[in-house]
């Protein structure tokens, strides 16, 4: 049934229809309405789940980890400082090969204090061994949670996933969302039943000390699992499309890229604004396209290489910054393209930090600049967009 709801409620409904069994969460702006709604569902008996009101995000993830080892389907949600406080336990979740699903309401890191949209928190977790999915709409948030459980719980994957919704722009925006029928979700997503779990009568030690001559083999297996997740993500999305009629473009969601000269790589909600700008510029005969980075992990390396063979220029918009280097999406993109012969011009644009609005004007400014830079063959950067005091400023 289609109803108007916020991104946060879409997350809560996603966990509900996925029948999460253990939810451990700690409140943080702007994630709170997710856990409030889930606590309501549990209290009302609408979910057969245990809600653990933990005293920190570190404990939220730690409780999920232990519950997951004990065989429960687990869910949590957090944001910014909460996510970075979890950092240690995120590694624990992936190292222990647990299919935990979490929503991160992506928000800027302090100082300066900011509660608004920014990808720094999520990007800072890219080495934790989690799959990371950036969402463009509330519907995608809900649908990706359902898909994520099916991907994570695959015996070939067994890794956790982070569903990322931009603070306020999705979390607090109400828009129509279709909540799938429970029985349809049930047949799409079977019960979680791990082969081995923590249980009495099973005297095993979980997570033992491993010597240097054994450690690398475990990491190698995790690497293989993340690689096989690529295929699993595609097949689960295909099944989802056949069941529910919606799909989101795999790891790299391309829009009007077929004959594009210049494309913009962007993740999260700004992709929607970019679609509007692409249409508008195309109406004026300018061949631009959008390549929405849906997954930061696994990173769409092959998809980007294929795209690079067709375009002259790639602009990469980062809503975060790695000081002393560049935007993470940019360095990841360049790293993916380096091994191949045909490498288009790539330029990095930094915009939308701390909730700064990414307007159609900014997106069009980036496209125009990238076309110009490609024509001139000069792609210095990174270019910080819309910063007071800079000579060039698009708004």
């Amino acid at each position: 049934m289609r109803k108007v709801m916020t991104g946060n409620y879409a997350s809560a409904y996603g966990a509900k229809v996925s029948r999460a069994e253990v939810i451990a969460a700690y409140p943080i702006t702007p994630q709170t309405s997710i856990v409030e709604k889930l606590a309501e569902f549990v209290a009302a008996g609408e979910m057969k789940a245990k809600f653990i009101p933990v005293e920190s995000e570190h404990s939220a993830m730690a409780a999920c980890v232990s519950a997951s080892i004990a065989g429960a389907r687990t869910y949590t949600a957090t944001s910014s400082h909460g996510l970075t406080l979890m950092h240690e336990v995120l590694m624990w979740a992936s190292g222990a090969r647990l299919p935990i699903v979490m929503t991160n309401v992506s928000r800027a890191m302090a100082p300066p204090w900011s509660v608004w949209a920014d990808h720094m928190d999520s990007v800072a977790q890219r080495d934790t061994g989690w799959m990371q999915f950036f969402c463009e709409s509330n519907q995608e948030v809900l649908d990706t949670i359902i898909m994520a459980y099916k991907i994570c719980e695959s015996e070939h994957v067994m890794l956790p996933a982070m569903i990322i919704e931009d603070a306020f722009i999705l979390s607090h925006t109400s828009e129509p969302v279709d909540v799938p029928d429970q029985d349809m979700v049930d047949s799409f997503l079977p019960e979680y039943d791990p082969a081995v779990k923590l249980e009495v009568g099973n005297p095993m030690g979980f997570g033992s000390l491993v010597r240097p001559d054994q450690y690398m083999e475990f990491r190698y297996k995790a690497m293989k699992a993340m690689e096989s997740a690529r295929e699993r993500i595609a097949s689960v999305e295909d099944e989802f499309r056949r069941t529910f009629g919606r799909s989101y473009g795999g790891l790299l969601d391309e829009y009007r890229c077929e004959d594009a000269e210049v494309v913009l790589i962007v993740a999260g909600s700004a992709a929607g604004t970019t679609r509007e700008v692409v249409d508008s510029m195309r109406d004026r005969g300018i061949r631009v396209g959008l390549a929405r980075l849906r997954a930061l992990r696994p990173f769409p390396q092959e998809e980007l290489r294929a795209l690079a063979n067709r375009v002259r220029g790639i602009a990469v918009l980062d809503r975060s910054y790695t000081f002393g280097a560049a935007g993470a999406f940019y360095t990841e993109t360049c790293g993916s393209l380096y091994p191949q012969a045909k490498r288009p011009f790539v330029k990095n644009y930094i915009a939308g930090l701390g909730g700064r609005d990414i307007t159609p004007g900014i997106i069009e400014g980036i496209f125009s600049d990238m076309i110009d830079a490609t024509d001139r063959g000069e792609v210095a950067g990174p270019e910080w967009v819309d910063v007071a005091g800079l000579e060039r400023r698009w708004r």
């Binding site: 069994e21 730690a62 409780a63 232990s66 249980e199 997570g207």
Partner: protein, 296 residues
Amino acid sequence: MSPTTIPEEEYAHPGSTGCPGCGANLVMRYLLKGLGDRTIITIPACCWAVMPGYWPSHCLKIPMVYCAFEATGASLSGIRAALDVRGEEDVTVVGFAGDGGTVDIGLQALSGAAERQTDAIYVMYDNEAYMNTGIQRSGSTPWGAWTTTTPVKDAKGFKREPKKDIMGIMAAHDVPYAATVSVGHPEDFVKKIRKAKEVKGFRFIHAYSPCPPGWRMNPMKTIEVAKLAVDSRIFPLYEIVDGDLTITRKGKGVPVSDYLSIQGRFSHLSDEDVADIQRGVDQAYAELEKRAVPKK
């Protein structure tokens, strides 16, 4: 049947990698004798994180899981929730952490689990320093002790701060059951564990756990020093049931110097220092007796 005073059934395999004379090994042995095999245990970073040996070695006959150093309380809540969802409410869930993992880095998660009244038993085995990392001071290291981070350069170089009162902290959480136990008194230990097992809600066990290398002590002295700790009243044995405190074993009241003198970690203390410790112990024990409910 042998006339043993504690259950003969063993839930630990030999071959654990604890140091010779390790008190923490005994704490686990007695604990499981009291609980039996419908028990799941979660262990953070501590000596016990390495004691089962390298993968694939496991030294217990029950399931065990590791958790992050500061996360024992949260791990308890997670396991409990997972078991409750599948209706295994009779299984005892145990957190088993060292003193640093409890009174320092794990205090927040411990407090959270206690406040939430997670139905579980938390056991802190107290060897009074970070022993797994090589004898660094913790909040549970007593006044006067040498550690590698309280080096004795001169007469005053030892730890100058008193031991954190974890039992007081847990009592302030109004947990339904809290008790001190010692490896020197296995019968009292097992009796309290059996009692704790029958209580619903969050239960806390403070287990005295001598560490021969960390205490600069001959490993054969582990039991002797544990008994001296009780007899000198430096580590009194008591329990708090729904707020009512009962001393379960009155020590003989031997001088604390008997206890201190067999441990190298106190060897630098002057007579005045020892007298100070004696005064502190006498005072604390008098306070404890005042709090104790008179026997009916």
